[in-house]
């Protein structure tokens, strides 16, 4: 079996609290000795409540957050040993999609400029035909190239953000609450799009979400985080059918169902 696309071993992250000397010198332990891996072509769901450390953990995968201890191996390389150039190379292979598409896109740039910048940042040129193909792969027409972010809806913008992530043909996409800011009827579109990318292009996903129902449907495996630790991992069907850890059980029980009591 080939090497996992992402492998984290005993990683921790301690944030120093603001306010200098004296108080709180120990800081805040956001991630506490976590080990986790994502196989190639797999979608791993990372769930937990706010403040559980899931976003911090996800951002270690492409070196946006540097762990205080432990090792992160992405695509076979030790992230801590990569220099500035190495990190840049890594980041073309590991793309990100954020929660708020309007905030993650530059309001002063057209979709074309946004996409072209990704290529330029890695010293590549691109053609209009390529950009159109890229937009079509996320279900948008060529007419979006000339639009500014404020001229598109939230769902369309999130498609642009996905297109930007896809531009350099990454092997891993870190999606941090990619549908939390979207309307219900649009959310499913984006989730289906991500699922198609996984199935058709073999892209691996690290999908961070607070929404268990979303994770259940769109992840092969699930890791449940609580206070900086992973308390349970396993295939998503199993985890949600018979949650073992009390934290997972509490989450599952608290999730309201759009169902009538039978």
């Amino acid at each position: 079996m080939s090497e996992p696309i992402l492998e984290m071993t005993d990683v921790s992250k301690r944030y120093r609290t603001a306010g200098g000397f004296g108080r709180g010198r120990k800081g805040f332990l956001a991630v506490d000795g976590v080990s986790l891996h994502v196989e190639r072509g797999e979608a791993l769901g990372l769930v937990g409540e706010s403040g559980s450390g899931k976003s911090t953990l996800a951002r270690m995968a492409n070196g946006l957050v540097v762990p205080t201890s432990g090792t992160v191996r992405t695509d076979g390389q030790d992230v801590a040993r990569l220099g500035r150039r190495g990190l840049r190379r890594l980041r073309r292979n590991v793309a990100m999609v954020f929660q708020d598409p309007l905030a993650s896109l530059n309001p002063l740039q057209t979709v074309r400029q946004t996409l072209e910048n990704v290529f330029r940042a890695h010293g590549e040129t691109t053609s209009t035909a390529e950009l159109v193909a890229l937009l079509e792969s996320v279900g948008l027409g060529a007419d979006y190239l000339g639009r500014y972010p404020h001229e598109a809806s939230g769902g369309q913008l999130q498609r642009v953000a996905v297109a930007r992530a896809l531009a350099l043909k990454p092997d891993l996409i870190i999606a941090d609450e990619p549908t939390s800011a979207l309307d219900v009827s649009v959310r499913a579109q984006i989730l289906n799009l991500l699922a198609d990318l996984q199935r058709d292009q073999g892209i691996s996903f690290l999908h961070v979400s607070h929404d268990l129902a979303v994770i259940r449907l769109y992840s092969d495996r699930v890791a449940v985080m609580q206070r900086g630790r992973i308390v349970e991992t396993g295939p998503s069907d199993e985890i949600f059918r018979s949650p073992q850890h009390p934290c997972t059980r509490a989450l599952v029980e608290a999730t309201p169902e759009a169902e009538l009591p039978a």
């Binding site: 409540e49 706010s50 809806s153 939230g154 769902g155 369309q156 309307d183 219900v184 009827s185 649009v186 959310r187 499913a188 579109q189 989730l191 289906n192 699922a195 607070h210 929404d211 268990l212 129902a213 979303v214 259940r216 449907l217 769109y218 069907d237 949600f240 059918r241 509490a250 989450l251 599952v252 029980e253 608290a254 999730t255 309201p256 169902e257 759009a258 169902e259 009538l260």
Partner: protein
């Protein structure tokens, strides 16, 4: 039949800016009795929040409402400023989505609740009002209420803050509570606690609750009846059972199909289930054409034909399940096809 706590008839809300007036809510009617919960469900542009604000006459600058709104026997749209002040916070109160911004950063929690008390009964002393605040914080389950009244909003966790907001809203025992996405900003476990608390207090006080939400999960666990809004108009109204099990509007059915569920029924043994998405994006009344606002996204519009594009459907009575009350849907189709292929 007792008088309803809330009655809304043909409510229209319009915004005027730059000399142009446009409706954002049109021809909305609803009725809500004491002790019952009506969920108003919708996405962006549906007008659900503005409807809640219109009921309290808390419309932003440039907005105006027409029609009829009666809260606990009081005509809200014709009420003068004094009457409105008397009604707000006493007959009808509100819980907001973001508890942080709903509380003044400059006042401690006790001051908020005491203010709500004294605004409606100036004879209550400051001290007695603070004592009421402690009582109320205790009632909504805030530990150490005597100490908590002196704390400021930013010193509370999100869940505790929302409890404080509920205490503030309910201190005068309103007949109607408008809860605008009361749990959206909270974690699921906290969300479940807050919903349980609201239900419990509703039963204790016998108040009516208008629950504004985008989340069918929350609606399913809290509502008796559901009003589905699309682009400022009523798409469907009915009991929770009718809405969930016998939706008569393609939008309601589509929204349900697009909502991910955690339950076992989706267990497919390996093969992954996909949600059925509704194509396109939600619109608002302002951007909708003369026909049905949902028609451009509706997979069934083709079956009806041109009528959907030129004529906005009016709510008509639909069959109800056993024990169900009124069931209305605004769709030119009399009956949804059995296969739920509602989305294109």
């Amino acid at each position: 039949m007792p008088d309803p706590v809330l009655q809304v008839e043909d409510l229209c809300v319009s915004f005027t800016s730059g000399g142009v007036t446009a409706d954002v809510v049109r021809d909305l009617s609803m009725r809500l009795d004491g002790g019952r919960t009506l969920a108003v469900v919708g996405e962006s542009g549906s007008g659900k929040t503005i409807t809640g604000r219109a009921i309290m006459r808390l419309l932003p600058r440039g907005a105006s409402a027409r029609g009829r709104i009666v809260v606990a026997g009081r005509e809200m749209l014709s009420a003068d400023e004094r009457e409105l002040r008397r009604a707000r916070g006493s007959d009808v109160a509100m819980v907001f989505q973001d508890s942080m911004s709903a509380l003044s950063p400059y006042l401690d929690i006790g001051a908020h609740i005491a203010q709500a008390v004294r605004l409606h009964d100036p004879s209550v002393t400051r001290r007695a009002a603070r004592a009421r605040a402690v009582e109320m914080l205790d009632r909504v389950g805030i530990p150490g209420p005597a100490d908590a009244v002196r704390r400021f909003p930013h010193e509370f966790s999100g869940g505790m803050r929302q409890r404080a907001v509920i205490a503030m809203a309910l201190v005068n025992r309103p007949a109607l509570l408008i809860a605008d996405e009361p749990t959206t900003a909270l974690d699921v476990t906290v969300q479940a606690q807050i919903l349980a608390l609201l239900r419990e207090l509703q039963q204790e006080y016998g108040m009516a609750m208008l629950l504004i939400s985008h989340d069918f999960g929350v609606v399913g666990s809290a509502a008796d009846d559901v009003l589905v809004l699309y682009a400022g108009r009523q798409a469907e109204y009915g009991s929770l059972r009718d809405i969930f099990d016998h939706p008569a509007h393609p939008y309601t059915a589509g929204l349900r199909a697009a909502t991910p569920r955690l339950d076992a029924r989706l267990d497919t043994g390996g093969e992954r289930t996909r949600l059925r998405a509704i194509p396109g994006a939600p619109t608002s009344l302002r951007d909708a054409g003369p026909g049905c606002a949902f028609a451009p996204r509706c997979g069934l519009a083709d079956q009806v034909g041109e009528r959907c594009v030129v004529e906005a459907p009016l709510p008509t009575v639909r069959p109800t399940s056993e024990g169900g009350g009124l069931h209305l849907a605004a769709c030119h189709l009399d009956r949804l096809p059995a296969t739920q292929e509602v989305a294109r």
